[in-house]
């Protein structure tokens, strides 16, 4: 069974249809890249999955369980939404680290608060969370940056902290919204390397990116979005090497030129 199934998702802002009937599924352990020109609805799709936007209609299933159903959504309490969104993690284009906390605190804060609200936190638990946080930061290559504040880190380092922060809650699916778009070109490599290593460890991921070469070899599935539709989807080889749709060919040609 697919870990994620999205069926007929629709989203309208004011009167513009931003997502027009989006359906796709994703298998556990796979990486899905979403490509498409700016304004095609990629960010909105990720935000819907993370409950930052409420779709107008459609269904989202995790492991077969419905976690969102447009027909019933208004009955969910804020508390239920909060727990359901934990299936997903989201790495933002602009990092959005908490400036008053160190890298390690950024990574551990949410889990500490979560366990505290479930009355499960004691000194042992807190110590374990810290240890897990340090492990995650080491995996991100930030062993010597744990006690630095965000403003003392480069953009690439900040984004790697943000990835560790998202991983700390062990989401089923980790979403990336153009994780390298706010970085200087010489810093994109270190972030892409980290995402690539997550793919090798079979982390289930949805990656919105303009790094075509990266998308081509890191992802097993690719979706090309155009004007709120999924214009084409398939394996990386199918979409990048044998695109069927004119729109896809045209979009990819624009990248190959530059």
């Amino acid at each position: 069974m697919s870990i994620l199934q999205v069926e007929h998702l629709k989203k309208t802002f004011n009167r513009t249809n931003v997502l027009k009937d989006i359906s796709f599924s994703l298998e556990k352990g796979q990486a899905l890249s979403i490509i498409g020109s700016s304004g095609s609805g990629k960010t909105t799709l990720l935000r819907c999955l993370n409950f930052l936007e409420t779709p107008d209609s459609g269904i989202i299933r995790i492991n077969g369980d419905v976690i969102f159903d447009g027909a019933q959504y208004s009955r969910l309490s804020e508390e239920e939404i909060r727990l359901r969104r934990l299936h997903f993690g989201l790495v933002f284009q602009s990092f959005n680290l908490f400036p008053q906390y160190t890298a390690l605190e950024n990574v551990t804060l949410a889990k500490k608060l979560l366990l505290k609200s479930q009355k499960k936190s004691g000194p042992d638990v807190l110590r374990t969370i810290d240890e897990e946080g340090r492990d995650l930061l080491r995996r991100m290559g930030l062993a010597d940056r744990m006690y630095n504040y965000p403003h003392q880190l480069s953009g690439g380092q900040q984004q790697r902290v943000a990835i560790a922060r998202a991983l700390a809650l062990s989401p089923d699916i980790l979403c990336f919204d153009e994780p390298t778009s706010a970085l200087d070109p010489e810093l994109t490599g270190e972030v892409l390397r980290v995402i690539r290593s997550l793919a090798q460890q079979n982390m289930t991921m949805i990656i919105v990116t303009h790094e075509m070469a990266f998308a081509r070899d890191v992802s097993s599935q690719v979706i090309f979005m155009d004007d709120g539709h999924i214009a084409e989807q398939g394996t990386s080889d199918e979409v990048f090497n044998h695109p069927r749709e004119e729109r896809t060919k045209h979009f990819l040609a624009g990248y190959n030129k530059s």
Binding site: R82, F92, F98, P99, Y101, S117, L169
Partner: protein
């Protein structure tokens, strides 16, 4: 010169009493205006149009007119127009009226500063918290509050320093604060008259108070410099 030395104990005693009243007005104003400002701020940002419009007009009127007028109206209006002395008599009545006027006035300035502070926090902070499963209160207290305090501290410090000096406006309704106490020796009081130096000397009190506050608030700002 000899005369001034003889006058000193009497004068300083009076100035100290006056300054105590100044400081009382100062602290009571802050104590009332900090929370009331938050209430007004939430009002101006309310989703309910009626509440936000009311609060915005309130802010506009209070900030658009001199504190001096507000003091006079608040002190005299109930007695002269409504024929009802709601403030009580004597110095304590004057103090209550002055405190109400100052709290109202400063709360409206604070509310605008708070609003700027709240709106200056990027939405990404809240969204990052939400995505990490935090509750709204956790996001406010653990993430946004300190960032807000850091941002509003410089403008709030300015208002606090201004307030020290503004308390002297209460002289207009004869509150016995330090200017009143100094001026008394000009007109004649406790056997001293025509003495201008006590009035000059009140400035030293103000300078000491604003100097200390500047140092303290500066240290607080420094403490929050560890993050950006």
């Amino acid at each position: 010169m000899k005369l001034i030395f003889e006058q000193m104990p009497v004068v300083f005693n009076s100035l100290n009493i006056g300054f105590l009243q100044t400081m009382r007005l100062f602290f009571v104003t802050l104590l009332g205006a900090f929370p009331l400002g938050l209430l007004i701020c939430m009002g101006t940002m309310s989703r309910f149009k009626l509440i936000s419009a009311y609060c915005k007009i309130h802010v506009w009127i209070i900030r658009g007119t001199p504190l001096m007028i507000q003091l006079l109206i608040i002190y005299y209006f109930p007695g002269l127009v409504l024929h009802k002395n709601i403030w009580g008599s004597g110095e304590s009545g004057r103090f209550t009226a002055a405190a109400v006027a100052f709290i109202l006035n400063y709360a409206n300035y604070f509310s605008e500063i708070y609003r700027g502070g709240i709106q200056s926090i990027p939405v990404g902070q809240e969204e990052a918290g939400l995505v990490l499963g935090m509750t709204k209160p956790q996001i406010f207290f653990r993430i946004k509050l300190l960032q807000m305090i850091k941002r509003i501290l410089p403008p709030i410090s300015n208002e606090i320093i201004t307030l020290v000096k503004d308390t002297s406006l209460a002289r207009i309704i004869a509150l016995q604060e330090i200017i009143w106490a100094g001026q008394a020796f000009l007109k004649g009081s406790q056997g001293i008259s025509g003495a201008i130096w006590p009035l000059f000397f009140t400035a030293v009190y103000y300078l000491a108070a604003t100097g200390l506050l500047t140092l303290g608030l500066g240290a607080l700002e420094k403490k929050l410099e560890y993050f950006r």
